[in-house]
Symmetry: C2
Subunit: 187 residues, 2 copies
């Protein structure tokens, strides 16, 4: 059984100024929304993960506007929402137990940001024994200043992390390809 896990698809992660100076893949949330629609249409399980930052300055601090889900990925009443305060969707939540209780073996993971919460959650999901598909155009990175003082653009951070996760932790696929596969494989 395959489930969709959407991680930190919250408004605040469009606020570049807090996380860096630029973000790639501005269409990531819309693609998360397209994934959500096809999983609902196919009646496959959907899990939402929401980040409640413990830093008062963060756009994801509870009760701030930025903490709200992006309009493209509003959970339905019957879709479980797991709240977390760290990067991994599996630490401090019942996500692993809930997935295993439903005999879910395969996860389609999307959301933000690839270099922080997505990478941490994909790595743990894989090491916990799930088969993971990470959707390349339904995630995004922010730029960083390195330990060496050099600036690493969002596109470099994005592609380096995708390369690190590829094969070792996840199969990488874009939204269109995944939607085609789902349409073909499941009646």
């Amino acid at each position: 059984m395959t489930a969709l896990v959407l991680i930190d698809t919250q408004i605040g992660l469009q606020e570049g100024a807090f996380y860096g100076s630029e973000r790639n893949n501005p269409e990531a949330e819309e693609n998360c929304g397209r994934l959500l629609q096809i999983f609902r249409k196919k009646q496959l399980p959907v899990f939402h993960v929401k980040h409640n930052s413990t830093e008062i300055d963060s756009p994801l601090y509870p009760n701030k506007m930025g903490n709200e889900f992006h309009p493209a990925v509003q959970p339905l009443i019957n879709e479980p929402v797991f709240e977390k305060t760290v990067n991994s969707a599996f630490i401090g939540t019942n996500l692993e137990v809930s997935l295993k209780a439903q005999n879910i073996t395969d996860l389609v993971i999307a959301g933000l940001t690839i270099e922080h919460c997505i990478s941490t959650s994909v790595r743990m999901a894989s090491n916990l024994g799930f088969n993971v598909i990470l959707v390349s155009d339904a995630t995004a990175a922010f730029d960083k200043v390195g330990y060496d003082g050099n600036k690493y653009p969002a596109e470099v951070i994005f592609h380096a992390e995708l390369a690190n996760l590829k094969d070792e932790f996840a199969t990488i696929m874009d939204t269109e390809t995944l939607m085609d596969e789902l349409d073909k494989s499941i009646e």
Copy 2:
């Protein structure tokens, strides 16, 4: 209490051909050895983590020469060794329980490779509540071919991953600075 956690400091991780075409920081294992010496001298706890690959072609497959610890970081009889089969040092091992049983709150992490087992273990350590120092010149990366088909050199993979871990998951420090800090802070 601070402990040293050395991860996958095994001979096989010098075999570039299996993991990529080039590795940066050839001195990483020697720097792990220097960290090990100062932790022993200061009588601070040391934990070794060893990877037993489940892939028969891997240099880290059990009973192969590559599975052995590097000569610079041979464990002493009284130093615990945790064996793992996935990237995270905390999955399928008793490492977390052992650290917490000894009231260890701070971890100095070093070993290989930064983009796979070190990153995964640093991320989990931080999310599990440990304060983490990652030693920049006591770890190393291999080059990768990206999802976009471009080649990402070991130095780019290394610095991008270090940038992703910095501040969010760990304090980054080099071996010399860490050894000076340990010499100053602990009698």
